[in-house]
């Protein structure tokens, strides 16, 4: 059997047997990336709404910066957070380097621009039609922008899924600030990187398939919720 065949079989076995170590790794992956998305969506949606209605001189420059940060390399984020949190860094006294908290911080920074840039565009488009009626009713610009987020909530779900996808699939940042410590900061992607460098390619690929299966489950869940709600509430 070739590597691909072996990997698919292995991935299937891994899922069926629900190996304790794998479950722990998956749980940590979901926890880290889920928390990061939660934080990033809090800050990012507010920033996106704010930027959609903001009027100041440097606005185009800020938008350009946010859009550029969409391509932020995860290794660079990891490095910056590492330097901030390392013992000799400005936040070294927190003592959180090589903990899941550090990983959450790094991924939050990584996906914040995704949420901010996409939600800004979303709100700006929605406001093109909705701005006058909402202002006419007496809503202030920022409130109108938040209303538009609520209005376009299903598109917002897609934005958040995009952010989650970016977070759970990245390896550079979590590797550097987490350190891939077995049982403490080891997540799916760092495991895959480790198995690859050890040469166990079928296992590495199988883990990759498991990761995809998890993301698939998350997306499917979101889809079902969306369809049901849309059908019921329009």
């Amino acid at each position: 059997m070739n590597t691909f065949g072996q990997s698919v079989l292995r991935a299937f076995e891994l899922i069926v047997h629900a190996d304790a170590e794998l479950v722990r790794t998956v749980a940590l992956s979901l926890f880290v990336s889920g928390s990061a998305c939660l934080w990033a969506s809090g800050f990012g949606l507010a920033a996106g709404a704010g930027l959609a209605v903001a009027r100041f001189q440097g606005l185009p420059a800020v938008l350009l910066l946010v859009n550029t940060l969409l391509a932020l390399p995860s290794v660079v984020v990891g490095l910056v957070v590492y330097l901030l949190l390392s013992r000799s860094g400005p936040l070294g006294s927190w003592g959180i380097l090589f903990t899941p908290t550090a990983m959450v911080i790094a991924q939050t920074i990584l996906v914040f621009p995704v949420v901010a840039a996409l939600s800004r565009q979303l709100v700006a488009d929605a406001l093109r039609e909705g701005s006058d009626p909402l202002r006419s009713m007496g809503a202030r610009p920022f409130i109108a922008a938040l209303l538009m987020l609520l209005h376009a909530r299903w598109a917002v779900v897609t934005v958040l899924l995009t952010a989650f996808g970016r977070a759970i699939a990245e390896v550079g940042a979590v590797m550097i600030v987490g350190g891939n410590i077995d049982g403490v900061t080891r997540v799916m992607t760092t495991t895959i990187a480790l198995e690859t460098s050890k040469g166990d390619l079928p296992l590495a690929l199988a883990l990759g398939l498991v990761l995809l299966a998890i993301v698939l489950a998350v997306n499917a869940g979101a889809y079902v919720v969306k369809e049901t709600a849309q059908h019921r509430y329009g």
Binding site: E129, G130, D132, P133, L134, R135, S136, M137, G138, A139, I143, L147, L150, H151, R153, R232, Y233, G234
Partner: protein, 241 residues
Amino acid sequence: MRAPLSLLPLKLEGVIFEARGHRIIKGISTTFKHGLRTIVLGPNGAGKSVLLRLCHGLLEPTAGAITWNSPEVPGGPRKQAMVFQRPVLLRRSALDNVHYALKVGGLPARERHDRAYEALCKVGLEAQADRPARVLSGGEQQRLALARVWALRPEILFLDEPTASLDPGATHEIERVILALHQAGTKIVMVTHNLGQARRLADEIMFLYQGRLLERQPADQFLKNPASSEAARFLEGELPW
């Protein structure tokens, strides 16, 4: 207790509006008082919608002054309202949409529910109160937009082609609500593209042409015997609508 001061009359003095170097409103002076239903007519690009938005405060004039007798208090209840060609409804029930309008419109919480429900009854949507607003038909959605307005009991209502995308039956319903609002004491200022509608609703007609107010006359007189040659050509359908 003293009666609250009236918003009207609304006075426009030498109002000019430019966008991207293009002069859209070229100096309009006029006054809106309580009472008559005013219909704004004019060919495409005459500046009708822009004029309404200027009056309503959605646009700032480039030059000239727009003054209310007694302006609204910022943060206080809204006394003027506008209905647009396409209503923007939130993804909530019909009742909640009206409710929300009252909330951002600055009405105290305890009065909102009764007023919202009453407004739905006025436009004939009480049976749809709990239905999601976005699944209502086009005509029902526009009636809901009017219910939002009704609930606020504005002194003046601006309408920008509220029936442009509706069928005759729905249009008739909207016109009925507009007449009822007027009866209840709201000044009506409405832009329409529909001459039949202007005949049915207008007490007086303002005719705009290329950013200028060419005529303002009682409806009968304007429709039978317009003073300007542009208006005559417009009524005969020779100008682009």
